[in-house]
């Protein structure tokens, strides 16, 4: 049940501080962007999404012999409540987890960068890309959620290796670390994809109007939107695909 993130001591001070600066800038940017994503209905959903991710991260599932993995949740949060709010969700979860001695305090910036910023950017990016090319129906939402979530995990692992190359505290063959990190995280990514697709699919089945990634797709037949309803999306707020 110990869900371990990057602990203290894996990275030298410059990389830890540098990642802290990146994380702080990212959180600042997301606080601005999240304003466009959050209203009276979606703000409580975003809080619940963060709480759900905290819970889901406690569930380590086995991936091969003697190894486990758990949800990261970046893609899930971004699809449910929007990418800016998604990064904030992960940052809140990581903050609370430090009180459970999970994820080093000095590694907070690294964890926000890898699990928040990188996984949201990659996971949500792939989700939107697939939503743009796939037919507008419910199974496309599931496929796009699964794929975005799956790829976001090895992408974060690759970013970890990149940081390790810059300022890891052990002198190791980077190729070996990269191969090991990516191969195990592809397996964890499959679990991430399944959990994300099931969660997004379940919520989209009952309340498609609450799912950010669904309401953004103009031709989706799932959505409730008309003039009687609250505006689902702010016009030209930069979220709509070109």
């Amino acid at each position: 049940m110990r869900c371990v993130h990057v602990p203290n001591g894996f990275f030298d001070a410059p990389v830890s501080i540098g990642a802290g600066v990146v994380a702080a800038a990212g959180i600042g940017l997301c606080l601005k962007g999240a304003r466009r994503e959050l209203d009276d209905r979606t703000a409580p959903l975003a809080g619940l999404t963060a709480a759900f991710i905290f819970a889901a991260q406690m569930i380590n599932f086995p991936v091969g012999a003697g190894t486990s993995g758990h949800l990261m949740g970046g893609a899930l949060a971004a699809i449910l409540v929007g990418p800016y709010t998604g990064v904030l969700c992960i940052s809140v979860v990581l903050l609370v987890q430090t009180f459970f001695a999970d994820g080093g305090v000095t590694a907070y910036g690294i964890n926000v960068t890898l699990m928040g910023i990188v996984s949201v950017a990659v996971g949500y990016g792939i989700f939107r890309l697939l939503m743009a090319v796939l037919p507008k129906n419910r199974s496309s939402v599931t496929i796009a959620s699964f794929s975005g979530a799956l790829v976001s995990v090895p992408a974060s692992a690759l970013a970890f290796v990149g940081l390790f190359a810059l300022g890891g505290t052990a002198d190791l063959s980077l190729g070996a670390v990269a191969t090991a990190m990516i191969s195990v995280h592809v397996l964890i990514g499959i679990g991430e994809g399944v959990i994300t697709a099931v969660t997004v699919g379940s919520i989209a089945a009952v309340r498609p109007d609450l799912v950010h990634g669904v309401t953004l797709t103009p031709a989706a037949p799932l959505q409730l939107r008309n003039d009687a309803d609250l505006p689902v999306d702010t016009p030209a707020a930069g979220g709509v695909s070109a």
Binding site: M1, P7, G9, F10, D39, A51, V63, L95
Partner: protein, 98 residues
């Protein structure tokens, strides 16, 4: 309608953290495993809060492992909801109706 949906979503999170978490795999996770295999696990330094009352997903002083872990999980869900929900409520755009 929306309230009921939110309640069910929260209930699912509480059940996962409070009950299902007991059955989670105890094997090292991907990063820990790679760190062990490649020999940089020894670089890990103790967590600043390892002796916190909630350290390692257990409530200090509660000896029953299932109860201790479940309680820690539910507290974590509540804390995350309070911090996240509070932040998002402050950041949200206000509807003109108030």
């Amino acid at each position: 309608m929306t309230k009921r949906f939110f309640f069910v979503f929260l209930l699912v999170a509480v059940i996962i953290a409070g009950f299902v978490s007991f059955y989670a795999s105890a094997s090292p996770d991907g990063l820990t495993k790679v760190a062990e295999d490649k020999g940089f696990a020894s670089q890990e330094k103790d967590h600043q809060f390892k002796d916190s009352p909630l350290g390692d997903y257990g409530v200090k002083g509660v000896d029953n492992e299932r109860l201790s872990g479940g309680l820690a999980g539910v507290i974590g869900v509540g804390l995350t909801l309070a911090v996240g929900g509070g932040l998002f409520w402050v950041v949200r755009r206000r509807s003109s109706a108030g």
